[in-house]
Symmetry: C2
Subunit: 564 residues, 2 copies
């Protein structure tokens, strides 16, 4: 399945432009793209993704940017489309490696980024420049214009980059919300204008390409809140993504409308609402906000809580409430909980467990699959088609999606009249040259994913993950043995120590394994003459066979052999 | 969260009946229920469930039946409602412990069970008795009548048990399919008759209680197959659950209708189709079936493959095809793959990966979220209401569902006019007494879940799972040390060996840890005088602190200290 990487970055053919996705084309998240023009580089987004099930213990995944190492002097800037973690989350880890390019983004995007950079003690080192919709940036060879897009976070931007062959339009993550909460819809006027002037290449968000029609407006959620909240007899808890400022605004409005004060809990919810209020994106009168202690003193039907934990995160306030472990403000029978969020694939089991526990507390629970308490932030087929018909690009590359989303977005574009040879289903690591001659996909560069575990970046690799999975699935048997260097005889052991393999009471099994191993070692002692490596191989072989036969398990066997 | 268990099984009050769920009330799967009447016991179903994400390496989960241990002489029979694993899968593990009660089931149910029992060398020991719909069984004090129900497996049954207070009706898993493929609908006539005679207690399937309206008929899937298959230019692969005989029948009919031969792959698909054909439930003319070699020799548009792997199971034929590792009949560009199955919660990531790989092979893929290629086997709200209005029970206990499903089914019954005090949201392990005085929930008995790993049943417990998860999340550090028994001085080591912790190249980190540990041990040597347990504690404490500070990780630390 794997493929050799091309050696190096090729010189850009004259009069061409190149794009190189480092993440986000083949997965949801990890978004990062390099644009090369006239020997200069521009980077769009620098996001992370959350680990997959086969990466136990990993906290985050960030793009591998080693192919940029010798090219940082050519980077003219890093433009962030919006403030979601999968677009800005890798900045603190990669800014130094990128040579501290100037970072451009809207005020909220940079506000959220500043918070992250401060956590990494990088605030003083980063140069951040605020940009606004319809603003133009001259970054070396790049003339970049920014345009407003609506998304599940406010202050989202798309990019238009001027080349001598026409515009490159990058949508960022978007939907065409005609009635956004802040009345700032996606700038269809600019998109139409680029289309008229001539668009060389469209890069468009593929996340929701499997959804027919049009994504509902963010404002629709208010209807559901407006029905649920006034009828609720007890406390109302709303869990949502802490970056969804408009959602938060709507929760607050619904709460105020039925005479409830609002208490905010959860680290990221507290941080993001603070940032958004300071920057003027979120309007909450001071007298509406209360703390948990004040909430406890009010009648329950006078309080709404805003919090995180909608994905069933074990440490979150909501999960602790569901397990009756949040003593500051415990749930009571008759309370209402709204999960105003998507069930992110991979989290369903944890979310289900959360919901069941909430029902055990006697709460009424509203969630995506049973109520209209969430809308997506990504464009459905109707919106994707509208962007294609406004922009009418010469070439089209679907971005931001798993492989099947990219394929389906390509099919959708073909259905809109874009010729097959003008569409490329591109994946991470493949540079694509765009010139008057058409699209040329170049050999793959060395890119991939870097794992972050605690403070370590990249020090846990595939070998370590393999061992982790091995022990997770089969447990571990450590074998201790001291042998004589003179004649290979066993001076101590073999002693067996297990973890995660069988319960301690299973002494018979381990005793049988020990005897079997002893016999084997005695038998082969003359041949091995106590040679450590040979002995290790034999210990592994013997126990592997024994445990496979006796219990059909394959624990990780770790022989520790001392010589004396 | 945990609760003390009641000591023992209480004597049954006179003129009462008791039910005791051992599984399935609080989870999807693991279905097993005991009914006690006039000092005798009847068991309904004996199913397994598949492990949850926090149970790495576990193959299966079965009910804990230790509370039945002293009561096996009172068991008058085990009645199986249908042949799904979550209703029959624990029989091979528990039949002996239950004292080999006679097992009753429909021909297909017993056919599938026989296959499982044979794998466990239990076929000769089990007494299996075939039963038919509308048949009555006299099992000690129990007069049991069986009635036909439709479900995603053929030959499903519900039970009616006669008591002096009225009937107990147990629906099994069901839907009200009005046009089932075998023209054998759920026996509403009998349900109505029981309702007329008087139903004491209804136990009804809650799995789909969150779905509005009526579940579509199994026959609807044929429409989708009939559209997709004739248009497919290449090979068509259909993956479905191997127990869904009607689905398989419809796939075969659609294939034959467009001139395709059928090749069956996958161990359980091969076994189940063989059993179902032998028993007459599945009709496939011999000349339709071909093997893989013959399939390779035919034009691709003349072949349909039936297989498993719709949940993204790594060893399945379909997943190997998607990774281009199934050399017998590789997928080619333009082939069609239909996942005719539900995305079971917890499997989404694996299924997504499968679908993406299939697109990489150039296949067109149809699946539940984008096409009408699957219908559920469980009753939606409309059907649940219909059963409630036919049966009009005195008391109602929702069964087969997670906690929230049970609560919602209870609410639905209340909405149908069943009084609140006549409904009990019961969970596994709680006995419920039903008598003229009403419902009495009794203290919890010792029940739970037993983990099966390889050939071991119950020898991996919570401690072992905790260790597995610990190593999976943080890796492992083994510390070797030889100390002198005379003065506690270090004779050898400390040496550090890691697995799944950091890459081997990270020698600096491990060297720093080693020095830190050496210093600590030297310092405390006089106090510990080489005492093994004290040293172990100190090694753990020192390294835990060191790694937490340096890389913010908490590996499992395993000190191995030899004394000399």
């Amino acid at each position: 399945m794997t493929e050799a990487f091309a050696a190096t970055w090729q010189p850009l053919p004259p009069e061409a432009v190149r794009i190189l996705p480092l993440g986000g084309l083949g997965e949801i998240g990890l978004n990062m793209m390099v644009v090369e023009y006239r020997d200069e580089l521009l980077i769009i987004d620098c996001g992370l993704m959350f680990p997959e099930p086969h990466m136990p213990g990993i906290d985050l995944v960030i793009p591998d940017i080693s192919c940029l190492e010798d090219h940082t002097h050519r980077i003219r800037g890093l433009v962030l489309t919006h403030g979601h973690e999968d677009h800005i989350g890798a900045v603190p880890f990669l800014l130094r490696k990128l040579g501290f390019p100037t970072v451009y983004g809207s005020p909220l995007t940079l506000g959220l980024l500043r918070h992250r950079l401060a956590e990494h003690d990088l605030l003083g080192l980063a140069e951040l420049v605020e940009v606004a919709p319809r603003q133009a940036l001259e970054l070396g060879a790049f003339h970049v214009e920014l345009f407003r897009v609506t998304h599940s976070i406010v202050d989202g931007l798309g990019l238009a980059i001027r080349t001598h062959m026409g515009w490159i339009v990058h949508t960022g993550d978007f939907k065409l919300d005609q009635t956004p909460v802040d009345n700032q819809p996606t700038d269809l006027v600019r998109l139409a204008a680029y289309g008229e002037e001539g668009v060389l290449l469209l890069l468009s968000d593929s996340t929701n390409v499997e959804k027919k029609g049009f994504t509902l407006s963010e404002r629709e959620v208010a209807t559901a809140f407006g029905e649920i909240m006034p009828q609720a007899r007890g406390l109302v808890v709303v869990a949502t993504f802490s970056s969804n400022i408009h959602r938060i605004q709507q929760v607050v409005q619904a709460a105020v409308a039925c005479g409830r004060k609002v208490v905010i809990t959860g680290r990221s919810m507290e941080a993001n609402t603070r940032i958004a209020r300071e920057l003027g994106y979120l309007k909450i009168p001071d007298d509406v906000l209360i703390d948990v202690r004040q909430a406890r003193d009010l009648p329950r039907h006078r309080v709404a809580m805003l919090t995180t934990g909608s994905q069933g995160e074990p440490q979150s306030c909501l999960v602790r409430m569901s397990r009756d472990e949040f003593k500051q403000l415990p749930l009571e029978k008759g309370d209402t909980v709204i999960l105003s969020s998507k069930f992110i694939p991979g989290n369903e089991k944890a979310i289900n467990r959360l919901i069941n526990h909430l029902y055990r507390r006697g709460s009424e629970v509203f969630y995506e699959t049973t109520s209209e308490v969430h809308v997506s932030g990504h464009a459905s087929q109707g919106e994707l088609k509208m962007v294609l018909s406004l922009v009418r690009p010469d070439y089209f590359v679907p971005i931001h999606g798993e492989y099947r989303h990219l394929v389906k977005h390509a099919e959708l574009a073909r259905g809109m009249g874009v010729a097959g040879e003008c569409i490329e289903v591109l994946e991470d690591g493949y540079p694509l040259c765009v010139s008057a001659d058409g699209l040329v996909r170049e050999p793959r560069l060395e890119t991939g994913r870097v794992l972050v575990d605690g403070r370590g970046v990249g020090d846990v690799g595939h070998m370590e993950l393999r061992d982790r999975r091995h022990v997770a699935n089969h447990g571990l048997v450590v074998v201790m043995l001291t042998v004589s260097t003179s004649d290979g005889s066993i001076l101590y052991g073999p002693e067996l120590l297990t973890r995660g393999f069988v319960a301690e009471e299973e002494t018979d099994l381990l005793e049988a394994a020990r005897s079997q191993l002893w016999e084997t070692l005695e038998e082969i002692a003359p041949e091995t003459s106590g040679e450590r490596e040979t002995l290790e191989v034999e210990v592994r072989k013997c126990l592997r066979r024994f445990f496979n036969r006796s219990v059909e398990r394959r624990p990780l066997i770790l022989p520790i052999i001392l010589e004396q």
